[in-house]
């Protein structure tokens, strides 16, 4: 995955409750047999389809959605509302945001599957108090730059005091180095094998189908 070390850029304020992953990453509804595999989509195509139905009308014309407005076309942050990215598990919600250039999502609450998917796409999901997020959305409105530093765990808004956040050590390391999570886990293969042996003795029906 792509490492995430620092960010310095605008934050698109989208302070709406319950923005779901269907909205963030609309399904491709191609004719039968013509559906493209997610892995074969280009970065441009992924970025284009982010919030597609809110950004473009049926004819492909731009709508006045926040990501179509000048300071936010290159946004690196998105400031969402409560329960951001609820709904389906589709990882394209994170992949499309990252392809667009948004590497940090800040919201009062973030749905669990999307939260986990963010890390795997080199993104930081950050949950902060609702009042704080509302204030950040206000600061973001004119396109002023936010700064993020993963190593020091600091988010610096344009106007208010820096905000410290903590990450589990392995998440922090993975973001900083772009580490392959599978490779990291495989270094613990002996522990995993020992656990499986234990299960085979204690609850054999779980592993002998």
């Amino acid at each position: 995955m792509n490492a995430l070390v620092t960010l310095d850029g605008s934050a698109a304020p989208l302070f709406e409750a319950d923005v779901n992953t269907d909205t963030i990453a609309p399904l491709y509804r191609e004719s039968k047999g013509g559906a493209a595999k997610a892995g074969e989509r280009t970065q441009d195509e992924l970025a284009h389809n982010l919030f597609r139905n809110r950004r473009f009308d049926d004819a492909g014309n731009e709508l006045p959605f926040i990501l179509n407005q000048r300071p936010f076309r290159n946004a690196q942050f998105l400031i969402g509302g409560p329960n951001f990215a609820c709904g389906s598990s589709r990882e394209t919600a994170a992949t499309m945001l990252a392809a667009f250039g948004i590497r940090c999502v800040i919201a009062p609450s973030i749905a669990g599957i999307f939260f986990d998917n963010c890390f795997r796409n080199g993104m930081l999901p950050l949950t902060l108090e609702q009042g704080v997020v509302e204030d950040l959305a206000r600061q973001a409105a004119n396109g002023a730059a936010f700064k993020l530093d993963i190593a020091s765990g600091i988010l610096t808004p344009p106007q208010s005091a820096p905000i410290a956040f903590t990450l589990p050590a392995f998440r922090r390391e993975a973001l900083l180095t772009g580490a392959d999570e599978i490779a990291v886990t495989l270094t613990r293969s002996a522990d995993i094998a020992a656990y499986r042996t234990h299960v085979r003795c204690e609850r054999p029906w779980e592993v002998s189908l």
Binding site: G33, S109, G112
Partner: protein
């Protein structure tokens, strides 16, 4: 692994990794498959998602239940049906409705595609310990009210984000009295209020339902497993981070009106008025939903004309669901304006229903009897509701555009959907002699 998880094999191939435990991994094509019984490609030999799943599973020695075989169906229908999910197991599937399996007392959660690759390669998954919540539902549910009504009422009461970060255990006399298949519906909808896990403590009902299933333990191993499973339930004095209690003894049929799962009405209620909503943000969201759904505040939800009916999805496509719907429509005709579908959740459900003659009841009424798959829940396979059409769906999401661009979805029980198909409008199944 459902078909939309097939890309995980590409990830493995790029890194030269093998599947750690193919014997503990299973696959079925559900999201993208055609459910049209007259489809020119019934085995989906041209469907790229199904092709990727077939090739990946064959290469790695994973069992795939292919189209037309017993075992094929919607992933959350077949994992319990085949005894792949069991009490106490951890079950991960690349789909948010994996919580369905929690009704067996399994710890089951949805993950993204990248996580699927990690699980395939390592048979492990990195998770944060969730907060715990118990939802105690005091019953019994009244006759004519289903477990779908129960969970819609829970989401309306608690709110669509109340479950965020939680593992939810559904408890109480209303849950204990539910047959196994109705319990799956409750746990299925956990995702709709943010819960990553939804559980019901296993009991004799669970064990009887599981006994003899294809991958369930047999003989002495079964006895040992049941003895272990009896130790799983939380003790009565267990404490939870959040504990809520809801009385459902007077609950009736429920139906959604808007574009989130807390926009729920009892069948005898009226479309809400945003002017009476004190919160400005909620008021704005309500107005947008009323506009999208083409609804007028103050109008009774019962009697609203509909165009489409979809009985299916991982929420409500089991044999008991189809029996309940058939009971409502027996001997009646689908309204001339309505196009109504029944999409059984699996090949097994389809064959069992046909053995009972349910397909004839549906066909005689004017329903289409289709092949198993996710179908019109999300329309990924082309099964969609046209722009501006109003649909009653037994699935789980009423989001903007969920069933196709401009589609208007009302979520309800199979009984209410069936009654509405006959009436041509949102209808109270209790008035049509629904038996529970």
């Amino acid at each position: 692994m459902p078909d939309f998880n097939g890309h995980a094999f590409t990830t493995l191939a790029k890194r030269g990794l093998k599947v750690a435990h193919p014997e503990l991994t299973f696959a079925t094509a559900d999201h993208s498959v055609s459910t049209d019984p007259r489809d020119a490609d019934p085995k989906q030999l041209q469907n790229p998602f199904v092709i990727a799943l077939r090739e990946g599973t064959a290469q790695h020695g994973i069992t795939m239940f292919d189209i037309g075989e017993i075992g094929h169906g919607i992933v959350h229908i077949i994992t319990p049906e085949l005894g792949i999910a069991l009490p106490g197991l951890t079950v991960a599937i690349g789909d948010s409705h994996t919580t369905t399996n929690g009704a067996l007392g399994a710890l089951a959660w949805g993950v993204g595609q990248g996580e699927i690759a990690h699980i395939l390669a390592t048979q492990t998954c990195v998770v944060r310990k969730p907060r715990s919540m118990r939802v105690t539902l005091d019953g019994p549910l009244p006759a004519g009210t289903s477990s779908k009504d129960l969970i819609l009422h829970v989401i309306r009461t608690a709110g669509v984000s109340a479950g965020n970060g939680h593992a939810v255990e559904y408890a109480g006399s209303a849950i204990r009295a539910l047959p196994m298949e109705a319990r799956f519906t409750v746990c299925n909808m956990s995702a709709e209020w943010g819960a990553r896990y939804g559980l019901i403590a296993p009991d004799d009902e669970t064990f009887e339902w599981l006994a003899g299933r294809r991958y369930a333990p047999k003989g002495a191993m079964w006895d040992a497993a049941v003895a272990d499973w009896r130790t799983l339930p939380s003790p009565d004095d267990a404490t939870f981070d959040t504990d809520i209690r809801i009385d459902v003894r007077a609950l009736g049929p429920q139906v959604t009106w808007g574009n989130s799962l807390d926009a729920v009405l009892a069948i005898d209620e009226r479309v809400p008025d945003p002017d009476r909503e004190p919160d400005a943000a909620r008021r704005t969201a309500m107005r947008a939903a009323l506009d999208y759904m083409d609804l007028t505040p103050g109008v009774p939800i019962e009697g609203l004309p509909i165009d489409r009916v979809f009985i299916g999805s991982c929420t409500n496509s089991r044999l008991d669901d189809l029996r309940a719907a058939a009971n409502v429509i027996r001997g009646q005709k689908v309204h001339e304006r309505v196009r109504a579908w029944v999409v059984p959740g699996s090949e097994q459900v389809k064959r069992d229903a046909e053995a009972e003659g349910l397909h004839e009841i549906f066909r005689n009424a004017g329903f289409e009897w289709r092949a198993p798959g996710c179908s019109m829940c999300l329309g990924a396979n082309g099964d969609t509701v046209a722009t501006g059409q109003r649909a009653i769906s037994t699935a789980n999401r009423n989001f903007v555009g969920r069933q196709g661009p401009g589609s208007r979805t009302h979520i309800a029980s199979p009984e209410l959907a069936a009654a509405s198909a006959i009436a041509g409008a949102i209808a109270d199944p209790r008035k049509r002699g629904a038996l529970v």
